[in-house]
């Protein structure tokens, strides 16, 4: 546990960094001194990005247009629809903002192009969770579920098989990731909550909710059942039929006993449920907690002793992309990792792929609050300008290390996915 003591982000400027920065500046200068008529001769490239909207922000699109001259159009869909689109209509978008678990369904269709890592400028700086399956200090990351490292690489550029070892072709370039837990209303619960098991505590009958996206909901359910001591899983992220049956039996019984107030599929639904007091403890995503707090309603993203359920998403390129659009896609990704976007997203409570560049774009106070888990020295302001934390406040769950280091499993597509989804649907209908 010694790694928590030293600050992982104390960057030492190496010669390599220096060379890189100067090279960058040089490139920028070269681009801007390019003969203007050439630039004007071509129309701006448009990239349609299909995704769940977790990181679809207008500010980001405006900035991309300003700095790169690339038009970004977001196609915001539910998680299920992202997968459907990617498999059935891959030409209806130019880039995909996909979660890693979705890859298990999308990649076999062959609709995704392996991304050439030599064209990714900050490839070496990407958090090793994605490139080696490790935390930056070398500790192994949890592998239960669809851990990104299992699906990060393809065997070739045009391939529908995942590579066991890192290759030169990445499926997605990571954008954001986070460690999820339960959200609670401390003002309506009035006692400490420490375990996932509380979701099924009869004390909260009719006041809990779970999310109805099978690949994510099943993992929350598994965390609960394991913590109740009801089921010992071999691998929560890859359950056997028997484990699925027993998990769903526990959930179905709870549902019949009136434990759940509702199920939600969409980010905003979870915000409404929590802010209106319909539920006091539920599956939640980090920015939803922020959204509830912005309404002046107390809400805590409660760290639990069994650890977190993690997720990650990234940008991928569909097979049909070529020519200028393909170049623009790489350009957009390189820009994405270059810092401004990273800082913007870190301020939403997400974590981003390249931490070093993001840090350069954040204030000391912001970095310490969001990443180091230290008390805010000055008010913490959201990207839209509202104050969301007063001085002295500490981020729920603490630092990047405490949170990402305590991940127990990842959102997942299992070998028994077809069976699990059918059982999940029966649970929802039960």
């Amino acid at each position: 546990m010694s790694y928590r003591k030293r600050s992982p982000f104390s960057t030492v400027y190496t010669r390599r960094d220096f060379v890189k920065t100067t090279a960058l500046a040089g490139t920028a200068a070269a681009v801007s001194s390019f003969p203007a008529p050439f630039v004007h001769a071509q129309e701006a490239v448009t990239l349609r990005i299909a995704g769940t909207g977790v990181n679809a922000f207008n500010e980001l699109a405006e900035r991309a247009l300003e700095e790169l001259g690339i038009n970004i159009e977001y196609i915001v869909l539910t998680s299920d629809d992202v997968v459907t689109r990617a498999i059935t209509q891959p030409t209806s978008f130019d880039m995909i903002d996909s979660e890693y678990w979705m890859l298990a369904k999308i990649v076999p269709s062959g609709n995704l192009k392996g991304m050439d890592v030599s064209r990714i400028q900050y490839y070496d700086d990407i958090v090793p969770i994605f490139t080696r399956g490790e935390l930056p200090d070398g500790t192994q990351m949890a592998r239960q579920g669809t851990a990104p490292i299992k699906v990060s690489y393809l065997t070739a550029e045009e391939s529908s098989t995942f590579a066991e070892e890192p290759t030169n072709f990445m499926t997605l370039i990571p954008t954001v990731y986070n460690a999820d837990t339960l959200g609670i209303r401390p003002d309506l619960i009035n006692r400490p909550i420490e375990s996932w098991a509380e979701l099924l505590n009869p004390e909260f009958a009719g006041k809990t909710a779970i999310l109805d996206i099978p690949s994510i909901g099943i993992m929350d359910a598994a965390m609960v059942c394991e913590s109740l001591g009801e089921i010992q899983y071999g691998d929560k992220g890859n359950m056997t039929r028997d484990e699925i049956d027993r998990t769903m039996a526990i959930l179905t019984q709870a549902k019949r006993d009136g434990q759940f107030r509702a199920f939600w599929k969409e980010f905003n639904e979870s915000v409404t449920l929590m802010a209106s007091g319909e539920v006091v403890i539920q599956s939640m995503w980090s920015p939803a907690v922020t959204a509830v707090r912005q309404q002046g309603v107390p809400c805590v993203y409660q760290p639990l002793r069994e650890g977190y359920r993690a997720w990650a998403s990234g940008l991928g390129i569909p097979s049909h992309l070529s020519g200028r659009q393909l170049d623009a896609a790489y350009e957009f990704i390189n820009w994405y990792l270059s810092g401004w976007v990273g800082a913007f997203l870190n301020r939403q409570g997400y974590y981003t792929a390249v931490l070093s560049t993001a840090r350069e774009n954040m204030t000391e106070n912001e970095w310490n609050f969001w990443m180091e888990g230290e008390p805010a020295a000055e008010p913490i302001v959201s990207p839209t300008g509202t104050v969301i934390e007063e001085p002295g406040a500490v981020r729920d769950g603490g630092s990047f290390w405490e949170r990402m280091g305590a991940v127990a499993c990842w959102n997942s597509v299992m070998d028994e996915d077809r069976y699990m989804v059918r059982k999940w649907n029966e649970f929802i209908a039960a």
């Binding site: 539910t78 299920d80 629809d81 997968v83 459907t84 498999i87 059935t88 298990a104 369904k105 076999p108 269709s109 009719g206 909710a209 109805d212 099978p214 549902k255 759940f260 107030r261 509702a262 199920f263 939600w264 599929k265 409404t272 209106s276 007091g277 319909e278 597509v413 996915d417 077809r418 989804v421 059918r422 999940w424 649907n425 029966e426 929802i428 209908a429 039960a430």
Partner: protein, 290 residues
């Protein structure tokens, strides 16, 4: 020779006239339905969503699961309750409009008033119940303020009650319109004659109004039954996604990329709905009564 051609042409004309509608129905109705039936026999895997095949697996799973019957039963229950309330309320309102309101402008004015809710979308009308019925909603605040209850009433929202309330709100007009239409066709002289012969108000209702409004009631019933059987949105929003209904199950399956089971479910739902409507036609012969 000319005579022969003449008859051929005369025969062809009605066929040609029917052609555009037939073509549209075949392209946009018969075709898709056949496709759904075909897909319901397909195989599927997580990574390969449509595998052309002829297997009964989807139907075996569907018809072999207790949840299916429970879901159909629950949908039928929702349907019956929604039908009962929309019919009762729709009939009463139509009766009021047709027989109590004497002046035609007022009649039309009040009738248009009934359609006002339709100026906003179904979705908005459904969602607007949430702030009213919630645990901290207006109704609960009112009840607690007056002191009728001390704890918020839970079953107002995310319950079958809420779903049926939503249906009644959304679909009563579909009863009012056809029943009102039927009632306007009732010859007033018949009612006067009955009254002259000493019939009571209830007897007039029982022996004249009800039988003569039957076609309107039947048409309204078809609307409401078909809408409720296929609904998934109201169940989702007002039922908190936890009230079971067939439509919701199909939407879930589509969402999870399980197209063949969704198709099988849709086929079964279509058959059940058609059977219901056929049974209804047996009771009331709409074509004759119109």
């Amino acid at each position: 020779m000319t005579a022969l051609r003449q008859t051929a042409v005369t025969k062809a004309v009605p066929l040609l006239q029917a052609l555009p509608l037939a073509a549209i129905l075949i392209a946009f109705f018969v075709g898709p339905v056949l496709l759904v039936v075909a897909v319901s026999f397909f195989d599927y895997q997580t990574w390969d969503i449509l595998i052309p095949d002829f297997i009964l697996y989807n139907y075996e799973i569907l018809l072999g699961s207790e949840t299916t019957y429970r879901t159909y039963l629950n949908t039928a229950k929702l349907c019956l309750l929604a039908w009962f309330f929309t019919l009762t309320i729709g009939f009463t309102i139509a009766y009021f409009l047709a027989f109590h309101v004497r002046s035609v402008p007022l009649q039309i004015g009040l009738f248009l008033l009934c359609t006002i809710p339709f100026w906003t979308s179904n979705i908005i009308r459904t969602i607007s119940w949430i702030p009213l019925l919630g645990r901290e909603g207006l109704v609960n605040q009112g009840l607690m303020g007056v002191g009728i209850v001390s704890e918020p009433v839970e079953w107002l929202l995310y319950s079958e009650f809420a779903v049926i309330l939503g249906y009644v709100h959304l679909y009563t007009l579909f009863m009012i319109v056809p029943i009102f239409n039927s009632m306007l066709r009732i010859d007033r002289a018949v009612i006067e004659a009955a009254r002259d012969a000493g019939a009571s108000g209830f007897q007039i209702l029982r022996h004249i109004l009800l039988p003569l409004s039957k076609p309107g009631m039947a048409i309204g019933t078809i609307f409401v039954v078909a809408l409720v059987m296929g609904d998934f949105f109201t169940v989702d929003v007002l039922g908190g996604a936890k009230v079971a209904s067939v439509g919701k199950t199909i939407v879930n399956e589509l969402g999870y990329l399980q197209y063949p089971p969704a198709a099988a479910n849709a086929v079964v739902l279509t058959i059940v709905t058609i059977l219901l409507i056929v049974a209804l036609m047996r009771i009331v012969n709409i074509r004759k009564e119109l």
